[in-house]
Symmetry: C2
Subunit: 626 residues, 2 copies
């Protein structure tokens, strides 16, 4: 964490000095966010990191969420939270999913369940962070608290409901949204440059831009409850998938605090015939079902914190924006949708909240880059282009996984009856680990994702996937750090230069970046801004840190910043001899490599150290020359 | 972190529901703390963890400290902060001291300095936490924020100055303190059961109990400044000890945020002759001296956040309490002093703030145990008995270290002139690592520290030293954790039972603890309280965790707690195969061992698993049978 750059500031360094906007409702804002769920709040938290961008969040509920809803936080989401400075609190408070256990009917007495296996939840080395579980309300609290520490001290405006929107491309603020107070029915109109609907599966913004969720004909229902149990079931503090022979299947997810457990009881497909009955399922019925499923173990539910009958189909919209108008013509998008507004998942793979937050992370930096004049408007079309296929792929995965986990257990005495054996389920679970960890997202070549021409120079840092961090030593203070944690959610691109064997290629690159008029740093950094404010160059050397000299670093790795021109000493790293990043990530130790990383931590390009022209050509359409 | 035991609570689990006392000044309190520095706030934060204890902190300053003063946080202090739930934020924000560099005059040109060596700051494995540096103001903020999350929402009462105290042993609240508002000179009287003076080196509480600081005849002076520099000195982000031939010595301590640096410029011994001149040292003079010391490197100070001329002698009081009255008779202590009020150190070894906070940690649990009726009053005499010798030892160390670091550098061309060679300094620094890390404290055998009769059963867990944590796997949720982190600052004693090879000794111990009327758990746990509320029993098994069955654990390792009788699943651990705690801490894998740990994390006793009688005999004087 870097601070005090422009002089010592007393108090919490993460609470920025206030730059409060005028109170009351502004006539116009840069970004209007509808909905304060995980997608809306990730987007808002991201945008509050840019003090000049005026953002407002409207929410029809009357205040913060207090309990219930989602709870699974994939490794990839923890990585993102780390970029937001919020991982420590999350990791402290959350349940860590270390292992998952599988239970099925006993062969000799199919009324009773037995454990068939236990697997490590997340493959070793998949992420430096674990898979964790915490109440969605707390996830939202972390984001809301981060917004309150921003210069704008942004809080959602509660009790404000969406009414409608018009778009006028001739206006400086082309979006005119109409809202209504839920209590007094008073109408409010707001002009915005951009509007983002994060208003959930029943999104009205989605309807307003003519999109609809397509997919499953029917919904699947789950009874979900957060309970404080007393039980002799031995795996109550592990994540558990139970297949029972008589009462269906159940997922058990231990929760934060050491006592709470979430149970997902499968209530099957919702049909015309059973809809009323399913919706009327009481918590007592859910508990009774859970008790039957766990037989011969006892489950005594002492307290129910929350319960819900949750109905969902796996569905998706065609686009996540309004870039195609009513006549089918392309235009620059102004209105976006994110999260459940554009894709809905089953509860089982833990995708919904995670994918929604990644949508917002993808969109947030793009909006900021355009609003701050660093990037052209056309950047925004890439949001839907990138995220819609990701959602489609995840829904396919989710369907397979749901089918597996929702299936009847195979009866060994009657294999012809079909069903899924827990060993199959367990094998699929392991195979699917990259999806559930959230690290399977792979953007295809496009304006923000280069070709894989030079992928061989850094085989473990795959273009289009998230930058997979590894340990290094920070040169100037000899501190072991994670290289990927240099990437905070500040809207900057990062260029990681991995040194070649001679070191010459790296030195030449640094000189090019600093001095050549064609260099992206020279072209795209605004006058007066810090040298690293658009493209943050970091270097990783192959020598142990005591063999490197700080005083011999190329100038761009010791940039002078801020009002005093202080030196930033956090640009140069060396290998950590106990875990050599070159070996861990398959980086060519002879030739080195440039790895270009987007503000959302996805790898945009891998290039040779002398790939100056390719770098500049790739970035030219992304940035506006300053 | 465990929570939701008595039902789901919305919001931040570390912010407890308020149980606010009546507003305004109470007529009487349990503990009155004078001074809100590190010692006073550690004590206050500790006491607020006991909702029934009424504590007040008075402070003559007008509000929170904002900058300056101490900044070094030893590993041991981070361990303590972890017990308070405050380590994550500290580690996030602080500078980590990874290496220390040593510089001296060049042999061929003694006006110029050169680096003579770099050493790892903290020996590998000394603690699971690093040595870090952060502004004392932030340390106090963390503690103050923790107090604000307590049921009492305790805040110091500012602008209240100490006037005097009387003691009347016949009253229920024997201490009558008189205070005065600093602004209006209004007198306030408060009755307290106990009073603790944490009012610094010029303590008035110390004077009131007839104690005085003894030691150095003269003070040593340091010019201290927190600066934002631009420099070509390559080690500016390392901790550095510089010996110069012409302008004295300097310590350089990088600070939080990546830019700030603290410089300690040695101004020498304060004498009658130089006192006025030293005290008048300006920041410009300090900067000029620092510049000369760093020659040939440039030091351009862009901003000074804080500076002070700091004078200190190494001094100590005979007692830290009022247990000896004016006639020399012993009585139960009612008034205590802690921190700088009883011992002052040089700035160089980074001891002052750290030792002060450990004083308060030692005293806090004892006050709570007595006030809550768990322990007899005589426990309190152990505070001075234990801490005074520790302070004495640290002052001896500090004198040696100060002499080394304050000495002239040896001139190779004139060795007869004396002085210290940087290689000697470096060697001493490494040797002294355990002192500076704060882990050298070793309480001698006494009422709270058993004999070392059975030390051979756990050679690396030395009776009288702090429990040195090591990694284990928590059985029920398969989570890798640090065993020592089970010890939170909640006033409970811990009994770590390390299993014997057969496991039988452990099972027998668990049965004894639960069922035998003589067991300390049976004798000392109040009726209606949770089974682990006085003595928290934890077990470590030798098998890998998947070979252990939760359902076969002895009952005391699955205690039923709280209003619902929920099971606590965090009592049983197994070895982490990647770092076997039995091997790391020299625990006898054949016989196992019991390791009894005090609420301040110090090891009270090591016993064989069947040392029931010894355990009970040791604890009998410590607790009151319930």
């Amino acid at each position: 964490m870097q601070f005090h750059l422009n002089g010592f500031q007393v108090g919490d360094p993460e609470r920025h000095p206030a730059q409060l906007p005028a109170s009351g409702w502004p006539d116009s804002v840069d970004v209007l966010i509808v909905g304060s769920g995980p997608a809306g709040l990730v987007l808002a938290s991201q945008l509050t990191r840019f003090p000049n961008i005026v953002t407002r969040v409207v929410e029809r509920r009357s205040g913060r969420l207090q309990l219930g809803q989602a709870d699974g936080i994939a490794c990839r989401t923890v990585e993102m939270f780390n970029a937001f400075g919020l991982a420590d609190q999350l990791l402290r408070e959350a349940y860590w999913v270390n292992e998952t256990a599988f239970w099925r009917p006993q062969a000799d007495d199919r009324q009773r369940i037995e454990r068939t296996g236990r697997v490590q939840d997340t493959e070793d080395g998949l992420s430096e962070f674990p898979h964790v579980i915490v109440n969605q309300a707390r996830i939202q609290d972390y984001l809301l608290d981060s917004m309150l520490k921003s210069p704008q001290r942004l809080e959602p405006d509660y009790n404000l409901e969406w009414v409608g929107v018009t778009r006028d491309d001739h206006a400086t603020h082309p979006v005119l949204a109409t809202l209504k107070t839920t209590d007094t029915d008073q109408m409010v109109q707001v002009r915005a440059r951009y509007l983002v609907g994060c208003d959930g599966a029943r999104s009205k913004v989605r309807a307003a831009i003519g999109q609809q969720l397509r997919g499953d004909a029917a919904n699947h229902a789950w009874g979900v409850m957060d309970v404080l149990p007393v039980t002799d079931f031995p795996d109550i503090r592990l994540k558990v998938a139970v297949q029972s022979s008589v009462s269906g299947n159940m997922l058990m997810i231990p929760r934060e605090g050491g006592h709470l457990v979430r149970l997902y009881v499968d209530l099957g497909e919702v049909t015309e015939e059973n809809r009323t009955a399913i919706r009327a399922t009481s918590v007592e019925q859910l508990i009774a079902t859970a008790q039957r499923i766990l037989h011969p173990y006892e489950l005594d539910v002492k307290s129910v914190a929350w319960f819900s009958v949750y109905e969902v189909g796996q569905r998706l919209t065609d686009r996540f924006d309004d870039a195609v108008d009513a006549t089918g013509e392309f235009r620059e998008p102004r209105i976006f949708i994110a999260g459940d507004a554009c894709h809905t998942h089953s509860a089982k793979a833990g995708q919904g909240m995670n994918v929604s937050m990644q949508d917002a992370f993808n969109l947030g930096w793009k909006l900021a880059a355009v609003l701050e004049g660093r990037s052209p408007e056309r950047l925004l079309a890439s949001y839907s282009q990138e995220r819609q296929p990701v959602a489609r792929e995840l829904i396919s995965f989710d369907k397979e996984w749901s089918a597996m986990i929702g299936a009847r257990p195979k009866d060994p005495s009657n294999p012809a009856a079909g069903g899924v054996d827990p060993t199959q389920l367990q094998a699929y679970f392991v195979k699917a680990g990259r999806y559930t960890a959230g690290v399977a997202t792979h953007y295809r070549p496009g304006p923000l994702t280069g070709p894989d021409t030079w992928q061989g120079l850094a085989r473990g840092l795959v273009v289009g996937t998230r930058f997979h961090s590894a340990p290094v030593i920070r040169l100037a203070d000899a501190r072991p750090v994670h290289l990927g944690h240099a990437a905070t959610a500040d809207g900057r691109w990062r260029l990681y230069a991995f040194a070649d064997a001679s070191g010459l290629g790296l030195v030449n690159l640094c000189e090019y970046l600093l001095d050549d008029p064609a260099s992206p740093v020279r072209q795209f950094t605004p006058a007066g801004a810090d040298l690293d404010s658009v493209l943050d160059v970091r270097a990783v050397f192959q020598q142990p840190h005591r063999e490197m000299k700080v005083e011999q670093l190329p100038s761009i790795l010791l940039p002078r910043k801020g009002r005093f021109g202080l030196i930033d000493y956090e640009k140069a790293f060396t290998i950590d001899p106990t875990s050599n990043i070159f070996a861990m990530r398959g980086i060519d130790a002879q030739q080195g490599a440039m790895v270009l990383v987007r503000p959302d931590q996805y790898i945009a390009h891998v290039l040779p150290l002398d790939g100056y022209r390719e770098l500049e050509a790739f970035l030219r359409p992304v940035f506006i020359p300053q």
